[in-house]
Amino acid sequence: MINNSIRELEDNETYAVIDTIPYNDGTYVYFSNIKDEDDLCIRKQLKKDTETILIGLDNNEEVDFALQLLVQKNLEA
């Protein structure tokens, strides 16, 4: 059974959701390539009316911020 925790992204590679962290109006979603765990990327999950969409982050600073959230959540847990 394939569920929503696997997603094919723009590079046609299949990624698994390894974590989600709510922040402000959306949620940061952390993907790891199922063939290469070093292949990491982050998206924002937002709700637009009835749709749920994934969009990229605004800039590298926001990527750093999202990575900090990931480290803090998993090292302090």
Binding site: M1, I2, N3, N4, S5, I6, R7, L9, E10, D11, A16, V17, I18, D19, T20, T27, V29, Y30, S32, I34, E37, D38, D39, L40, C41, I42, R43, Q45, E51, T52, I53, L54, I55, G56, L57, D58, N59, N60, E61, E62, V63, D64, F65, A66, L67, Q68, L70, V71, N74, L75
Partner: protein, 218 residues
């Protein structure tokens, strides 16, 4: 100096095998009491090998440049998803997720540096220039360059008695109303004053009366 990924090498803390050897060998030399204490030497050698294995096990740091590209540039197009994404419940996938998450978190921790912390402060709107402003003020008005105590001790010289007191002259000049342009024509009939006198005396007076009254007024 930046590496090929655009990440500052100065901010990435990497412990190399050479550093471990440099730090451990002196410790070994100091700990061994006699040259024949082989058991102690062997114990320290084992510790050294353990540390080396530990470092090798961490592997290389995460390629942050690739994460930036995938997260910002590749994610510029929005994707509609059915329902909310969540961490998978599939047993096989769950194992991968757990393993991958631990690995990624450790590598991200190794790759991030102090600059990221600064960026985080900026991202949540913390003031970033307060410290810089203080530095500028210190440089411009610091005690080393412009001590205020020296400025307070400076006294102005008294004006010499042989010279006119220019300060009083200046006060008189200031209190006096500005000269009217007509005043330089004292010997000539003054049109402006004529009008004022005519208003005071009333219209219909003769020119002679006008000048006569003007003389009284003066």
């Amino acid at each position: 100096m930046n590496n090929q990924n655009g990440i500052s090498d100065e901010n990435v803390q990497v412990t190399t095998v050479d550093e471990v050897v440099e730090n451990t060998v002196p410790e070994m030399e100091n700990s061994v009491n006699t040259p024949h204490d082989f058991s102690k030497i062997q114990e320290l050698v084992d510790q050294l090998e353990s540390k080396i294995q530990q470092i090798r096990g961490q592997g290389p740091s995460l390629e942050l440049a690739s994460v930036y590209q995938k997260s910002v540039q590749d994610g510029s197009k929005r994707q509609v998803v059915a329902g909310e994404l969540y961490v998978g419940k599939n047993p096989t996938l769950a194992k991968f997720v757990e393993k991958s998450r631990k690995s990624v978190v450790q590598k991200v921790k190794n790759s991030l540096n102090d600059t990221v912390t600064f960026n985080q402060e900026n991202f949540v709107g913390e003031p970033a220039f307060e410290k810089k402003d203080n530095i500028i003020r210190t440089d411009r008005f610091g005690e080393d360059k412009f001590p205020l105590t020296e400025l307070d001790e400076v006294e102005l010289e008294e004006p010499k008695s042989s010279l006119p007191d220019l300060s009083q002259t200046a006060q008189i000049a200031i209190s006096r109303p500005p000269l009217k342009p007509e005043s330089i024509f004292d010997d000539e009939p003054i049109i402006g004053e004529e009008k004022e006198l005519a208003e005071t005396i009333g219209e219909g007076e003769s020119q002679a009366e006008l000048y006569q009254n003007r003389g009284r007024a003066v």
